[in-house]
Symmetry: C2
Subunit: 168 residues, 2 copies
Amino acid sequence: MTDANGGFDEMDIELLRCVESDFDVSLDALSEELDLSKSAVHYRLNKLKDRGVIEGVTADLDPLSFGLDMVAITEVSVTHEQGYSESIGADLAALAGVEQVYYTMGDVDFVVISRVQDRTQMNAVIEEMVAVEGVNETSSRFVMDEITSRPRVIDAMPEAARSRVVEE
Amino acid sequence: MTDANGGFDEMDIELLRCVESDFDVSLDALSEELDLSKSAVHYRLNKLKDRGVIEGVTADLDPLSFGLDMVAITEVSVTHEQGYSESIGADLAALAGVEQVYYTMGDVDFVVISRVQDRTQMNAVIEEMVAVEGVNETSSRFVMDEITSRPRVIDAMPEAARSRVVEE
DNA sequence: AATGAAATCGACCAGCA
DNA sequence: TGCTGGTCGATTTCATT
């Protein structure tokens, strides 16, 4: 988790694209896919982990398997005795049911994504948001569908962004 | 990827909590953490994958390593010649720079999260959104900070939700 | 569902371009 | 620095309970 950006070659990018979509493959498979020896793949993976480019390897769970099929986007504005924003954001993120918190510029201060099983739980989450010290007002929208459920850094990256970090 | 919800025991939940935060651990570590034999851990993991509870195992990449430090939330409304919404959502999700698309109820139709390197790229993304057939209007906000960057299904789940899917 | 043994795979090391 | 090939330890698989 030390270095800035830059310093990738095409092989790194291809490798990252592979493991970002599926790390549950054998070194052999990667090795064949990339025309590189197993050892070299292993070497590069380790380096990318050390550099902090690969932050971790995680299992992606299906929310529906837990009945978590209700998602809402809530805009939260706070009373502007400035400076508390950081802790308010942390408080919001810590609430059960909250998945993601964005601190934004503009009229609204936070955008919160939450995911629960039903309306009862959703009401509970929103009430807890209102109860957070410093929160002034909330406005929620229900999500009917999510299109790209998992962030995919490499695939979502614009061409201009990609070419800027790839060397030679 | 077949079954509905329910049908977890405490051990499943603990195991899922572990691998959702870090799957880059040895079976030994999991086995010790959970007081279960290595084989049993392996058996349960396989079952959870077969059931589709574990959708996959992926490497989490650090966007900053690619200079992707600008995030925006864009509200997109469409011209209501209804029925095209699905394909519009897919079109938005396919744009370079777009990470996540939510289809929502209410005055606004889509909420789009996008991530790029700078304002030039951000302008390009937003222009492409406007150019999508059926898109009527957009309104963007810049994100200054993200609090819970990775969705963690188990940890974010409310107690009420958790107890409903855990048996015995 | 869980176990232990046998086959397979991945991590690490010394050396090489 | 980036890679190779080989070794050892870990993991996956399978027959068995």
